[in-house]
């Protein structure tokens, strides 16, 4: 029981990071794009107004997932920790460059193309790096024997599945972010920004779905067991596809943009939970399962209680943040 609660909580937070992280990462890219194409005044303002108050919160989602993973499944620290030193460190450096340069550019109050470039580029590299961890969890890239745990970095680089996951991550980021910014620009009554972001949403929609199909296809040879499980639960992925189509239709018709963005969230919700559910019981195929590596019941129950107590603190505060900055029409419009 504890293992299911634990993995669900973690997966929910990772999903949260997926959505708000994507918005943030993609916004960095669009911000840079707007700068070099001199579209500054249309979308930059919208992006800045959304990003400034929330960027720190985004990062905490990631830290939460990571600490929670070690708490509920301590052995993951040993396997992933040993194997991922190099790629993990590189991802951390990228994340640091991004975070600090955002703050420098934003609060330090100086526009610099170098900052913006780093900010935009890392926005695409980081999701690429993180998505590789999901690839690694499918097995075949980590071996553990008497001499320790090792990552087969070379295999990872020549593997088609791993590259397709990377591409999927990048286009998803651009798609999610564009659809959110469409919604935000719409609420801000910023016509120009709305048109631009709507165009981007439509552009990146196609590749997102294409890459998702390719991921399915390549997974069938990479980890047939997982593929089989996915086929058995295919209804979840059908729901995901339907949400996607409905969202795209609404955005194309310029109607109900708020609902359209919710549908995009649903699309990824179904896909992400479908993926996660069928991945079970493995956290790292074939070495770690949630059953054998769950923490002791004493710790597990305490963590769950702490989590519930934490939610009482968190949910009202998040609600306040959203009300003040995302759903406050006056703020969004920039008044």
């Amino acid at each position: 029981m504890i293992e299911y609660i634990g993995i669900t909580v973690l997966w929910v937070f990772l999903y949260g990071y997926l959505i708000i992280g994507s918005i943030d990462f993609g916004a960095g890219f669009y911000s840079f794009y707007a700068k070099i194409t001199n579209k500054k005044h249309t979308i930059r303002k919208v992006i800045d107004r959304y990003l400034s108050p929330v960027w720190e919160v985004t990062n905490v989602f990631l830290v939460f997932f990571m600490i929670g993973l070690i708490g509920f499944f301590p052995n993951t620290a040993y396997y992933y920790g040993t194997a991922l030193l190099v790629p993990g460190s590189v991802a951390l450096v990228l994340l640091s460059i991004r975070g600090s340069f955002y703050a420098f550019a934003n609060y330090g109050a100086r526009e610099s193309n170098v900052y913006l470039f780093l900010y935009g580029a890392t926005g695409l590299l980081i999701p690429a790096a993180f998505s590789t961890v999901l690839t690694i969890s499918e097995g075949g890239f980590i071996i553990a024997d008497e001499s320790g745990v090792r990552l087969l970095l070379g295999h990872l680089f020549v593997n088609p599945y791993s590259w397709i996951v990377v591409l999927l991550a990048i286009v998803s980021v651009l798609f999610i972010s564009a659809s959110f910014l469409t919604y935000y620009a719409n609420s801000a009554h910023d016509k120009e920004a709305f048109e631009l972001m709507r165009k981007f949403t439509l552009i990146w929609g196609g590749p997102t779905i294409l890459m998702s199909f390719l991921v399915f296809l390549t997974l069938s040879t990479h980890n047939p067991e997982h593929f089989q499980a996915m086929v058995e639960e295919s209804w979840i992925f059908v729901l995901s596809l339907l949400s996607f189509l409905a969202a795209l239709w609404l955005i194309y018709k310029k109607q109900q943009i708020g609902i359209a963005f919710s549908l995009v969230c649903l699309q990824f919700f179904f896909a992400f939970f479908g993926y996660g559910y069928t991945h079970l019981p493995f956290i790292l195929y074939p070495y770690l399962t949630i059953y054998e590596n769950i923490t002791s019941p004493e710790m597990g129950i305490t963590l769950i209680m702490a989590f519930i107590a934490g939610l009482f603190l968190l949910v009202p505060s998040l609600f306040l943040l959203l009300r003040l900055f995302i759903f406050d029409a006056e703020y969004v419009k920039g008044n």
Binding site: V57, L62, G71, G81, F104, L314
Partner: protein, 444 residues
């Protein structure tokens, strides 16, 4: 040396934590003063204090950003460099780590709100109320992470059977014997450091010939904080010493070069050690002081290092770090005391340039003292990573690439370490206090 993952991992941990702790400490220390300044400003309807709160917040935000970044690095790096340690820690001490992330959340959310709502409330007291979660959140994260470090020094709350952790009691692990003294010392020193940095900034401007009353108000507010927290620091520093004498006598003995168990033990300042003869040259000895520090009685018996097997001795150089920390602590207390005396007795000038210079020096000194204190505790725990259970050498990663990562992160910290002051200076010189007071209408 370049091939030894243990040594390299220790270096990388040292560099990361040593860098993070600067931002973290200031991040814990400054919010209280922001909150106090804003409250005074609202109550006295004094615009200067509001401006003070705003300007402090601006600097604070940039520091927090770097703190978040380096903190995220630590969170991951502990697993990357010390996988077996985190595996064990995950079993027993993950509760406070987990709760710490909630504290971060809380602080991050309200900081975001606080920054962008200066002018959004009709009644300014509502805006002030938003600062309280920031104070609570940052101090709570220091509390939680310090319990983890306390656990590493006095692990409790589990049984170890054939390498497996059984009978885990998360709250016993969290509220271990080292927790009270550590948490209180870490928190008060963070407030002290925050106060001294703010005071040092004000002193700097006054020394440069600025005469606006704004700076004097800033200095005075910060110096009161300095005094209160430097006294508190000495008190719970003393308690930390007593904790060590009872629970980690080898650390205290190593810090004091106290080899033979004796009563009426003397405190040693400075000196040069001849390790083979266990003799000290050029040191200043204060009779009975070590016994008093350890047990409050001049006649008390203090355990010496020779009672422990030599392979469990911590490195003896921690003596100097201990000395330096205490000396800085005394210096900070003295400076803030003198300032207050000068201030309240009109016969003296509390803006005496020499005093201002001492205050200016106090800022960097406080930060150094934080570093020295952590080196004392962390190196003083050697060779253990979990005292009595796990040794550092057993828990490091086995990867052959730590050296490259050490270079990578060193470059990152170097870049951040150069950019951070540059950005801060630029931020504050671009909008001078005087121009902002003139405008009277300030938005962040």
């Amino acid at each position: 040396m370049l091939e030894d993952p243990v040594l390299l991992s220790r270096w990388l941990t040292f560099i990361t934590l040593g860098f993070h702790i600067i931002m973290a400490t200031i991040g814990v220390g400054i919010p209280i003063f922001i909150s106090i300044a804003e409250l005074i400003g609202i109550k006295k309807k004094d615009h200067h204090y509001i401006l003070l709160a705003k300007r402090w917040t601006r600097g604070y935000t940039i520091l927090v950003a770097v703190g978040v970044v380096t903190g995220t690095i630590i969170g991951f790096q502990l697993s990357l460099l010390w996988p077996s340690f985190m595996q064990s820690a995950g079993h027993v001490i993950s509760l406070p780590l987990f709760m710490e992330t909630f504290a971060f959340f809380f602080e991050a959310i309200f900081l975001g709100i606080y920054l962008y709502t200066w002018d959004r409330f009709k009644n300014p007291i509502f805006h002030w109320m938003l600062s309280i979660p920031i104070v609570i959140g940052s101090s709570a994260s220091a509390f939680f992470i310090t319990t983890v470090n306390a656990f590493m020094n006095t692990p409790r709350g589990f049984d170890l059977e054939n390498g497996a952790f059984t009978n885990v009691q998360p709250f016993v692990a969290m509220f271990n014997p080292a927790m009270p003294s550590k948490v209180s010392h870490v928190l008060t020193t963070a407030y002290l450091t925050g106060a001294f940095i703010l005071a040092a900034i004000a002193a700097f401007h006054l020394l440069r010939g600025k005469t606006h009353i704004y700076y004097k108000k800033a200095l005075h507010l910060a110096m009161i904080g300095c005094f209160v927290f430097s006294v508190a620091t000495i008190v719970n520093g003393d308690i930390s010493g007593k904790f060590l004498a009872y629970y980690q006598p080898e650390k205290l003995a190593a810090a004091e070069w106290h080899f033979e168990t004796t009563d009426r033990a003397k405190l040693l300042l400075g000196g040069i050690l001849n390790e083979d003869e266990q003799e000290v040259k050029f040191g200043i000895e204060i009779p009975y002081a070590l016994s008093i520090l350890a047990f409050n009685r001049p006649s008390a018996e203090v355990i010496g290092l020779n009672d422990f097997p030599q392979d469990l001795w911590p490195p003896l150089y921690i003596h100097y770090f201990f000395n330096l920390m205490i000396m800085i602590g005394m210096f900070l207390a003295a400076v803030s005391f003198i300032y207050l005396v000068f201030y309240y007795f009109n016969r003296f000038n509390s803006l005496n340039p020499w005093l201002l210079r001492a205050i200016l020096l106090g800022g960097p000194m406080a930060i150094l003292s934080i570093e020295f204190g952590w080196i004392l505790t962390e190196v003083g725990r050697q060779p253990w990573i979990l005292r009595g259970y796990l040794k550092v050498a057993e828990t490091a990663t086995t990867s052959g690439h730590v050296f490259e990562m050490l270079i990578l992160f060193s470059l990152l910290y170097l870049a951040l370490g150069i950019l951070l002051p540059v950005i801060l200076i630029r931020l504050f010189t671009k909008k001078s206090v005087e121009s902002e007071i003139d405008k009277h209408h300030i938005i962040l």
